[in-house]
Symmetry: C2
DNA sequence: TGTCTATTTAACTAAATGGCTAAATTGAAG
DNA sequence: CTTCAATTTAGCCATTTAGTTAAATAGACA
């Protein structure tokens, strides 16, 4: 598997994408906070965190008892680079590129 | 599953990402050409194409006997939008020049 | 030391995934 | 209307994935 496929695989799950979104929105957080916000068990979250870490999407650091997780910008940049590399494809026929680039949020 | 997770899931496979890359590089192609370039069986490719189509990443059109596939720009744009939405994350700490320019007093 | 809290690892199960071969479908051509 | 070519669908099987509960690990502190 290529690195990029690995990155996509890590994000190809609601729980994991949710964790990433949350870490990006609220910054570094301990595993326990992520468990508290989720409907699934602690061990399940722990395993998702491991998958995200092994895919290079998040960094782990220890603070006493707790483990703090944060998104690694490099991983996000890899996706951004890929989209930019193929920009002519999603740009094609879409005449609002400028608007997109200047807007703050989408979805 | 959110639409975005579905998109990532569709790209979370070497064969499928390869198909997408190839369609973006060389444009619309019949299934047979994609099979010819791959190491796995026709039926396997066919199923991957179905997954990509159901995820909205490619469009299918019929030309006589053959089915032609092409990347749908909208799907790529969805990913591009997501990366743009979180741009501050992958930009942070990676663009030193930008960081310098944004600092008022430092030397 | 012993215990409490935070988190991960282990063991297990059900469901999903991805490959194969064989059969079915669909359009073109004789 | 028969046959050929292109492609998909149908079964089948092995592997991976994501969840669970129970047990293990690691740090903080009386």
């Amino acid at each position: 598997m290529t690195t990029l496929v690995n990155t996509f695989a890590a994000l190809a799950d609601d729980t994991r994408l949710g964790i990433i979104e949350r870490l990006m929105a609220d910054g570094e957080q301990p595993a326990g906070d992520l468990v508290a916000r989720s409907t699934i068990s602690g061990p399940a979250i722990s395993r998702h965190l491991k998958i995200l870490r092994e895919a290079g999407l998040i960094a782990q650091r220890t603070d006493g008892n707790r483990r703090l997780y944060a998104v690694r910008p490099e991983a996000m940049q890899a996706i951004a680079n890929w989209t930019m590399d193929h920009r002519r494809f999603w740009e094609a026929g879409l005449d609002r590129l400028d608007a997109m680039l200047s807007e703050e949020s989408h979805d």
